[in-house]
Amino acid sequence: MLPYIQIGPATVQLPGLVVLVGLWLALELTARFAERVRVSGDLAVNAVLWGLGVGVVAARLGYALRYLDAFLQAPGSLFSLNPQTLDPTLGAIGGLLAAWEYARRKKLPLRALLDALSPGVLLFAFFLAIAQLLGGSAYGMPTKLPWGIELWGARRHPTQIYAAVLTLAALGWILRAGRAARGDGTLFLQTVGLLAAIRLFVEGFRGDSVVIAGGVRVAQLVALVVLLVVWWLYPRWSGGNGGSR
């Protein structure tokens, strides 16, 4: 775990730095991969950048609306660099809407665009897991297994490493499957399905899960629902013989 390093007067947050590097590499991969599904790499990257830009603004405005009194007393805080004053849900909604609107204006086929983004999404998820390892978040339950890591006062399952390795394997699978991608959105569905399956598996070892009655982990239930949605959509998007046919 190495959450940050001090360089002179500046405190560099390593997890944040790793996330930024991951984002940059994911965009590079997207630009290269997009052509395979007949989408302009530049336009695909621009859609992501629009989404990110609008997403950050929406996240800050959403947070400011939630804590209106605090921001009215210190309006300059609206422009501060603190990432702790962002509303992730509103940011995600705003970002997705902006990317979708950009794609619509540029007449980008939505499912092909989603396919184009798939390897980049997985590469970013890999770097996110590394950032979590550096920051000590998304930590595992205590274990006596020899590959456990010392974290927060106990020897724990290295859940961040489990997630990173599995995500890397999923990326390999998607890059291979991407050779025959048709731009019908099924590559994206495979990506979402793989990410949900990884979360379902790794969450079982996590020590910070939100749980409901009986100790059932909420994230696993959500992942299972996502898998069911992928199962329902896949034959419909691929034009195969689904259950409703």
């Binding site: 007067p9 804590y67 210190a74 379902l200 079982g204 910070d208 689904g242 259950g243």
Partner: protein, 181 residues
Amino acid sequence: MRQKRAYWLWLAAILLLGGGWIWLTRAPQSVRSGPPPAPKEGFSAPDFTLQTLDGKSVSLGDFRGKVVLVNFWATTCHPCRAEMPTMERVYEQERDKGFVVLAVTAEPSAEAVRAFVQNYGITFTVLLDKNAKVSREYRVYGTPTSFFVDRRGVIRWVVFGGPMSEALIRSKVETLLKEKP
């Protein structure tokens, strides 16, 4: 026909394997019970006892039931200097509602700290971590680092670096003050 069969087999696999794994990996009681002490969000804030500039001993545990901002700082750190007046403003306004600031410094010179406190007009509690034991226990590798501790003594947010904006401090403190002890 074969494709249709595979489709339903996939559903069975998702439900059986997914559902089975969820049931098998239910969180044990140790995960559901109170968190052990560690300098991390979701864990109990490790207790410490330090001395003020006047030589009075103060423990974090003394403030159970209150909202505490534990801020690690240094007189030579620019972001620390920038956020001190902000913390002071929020402290002045919220102290009567149960908000406490413990500003911990591993500065070797108590005199330099005293001069700084007078210069900035600080009224919240400043604690001297002479051998940096508490800073090490809280894994403070750089200043400022801030821990927002709720009324139950659990760390809710950690802010690495700074300066923290006034809205950041207000919004976090406001949220924690609204919670029941």
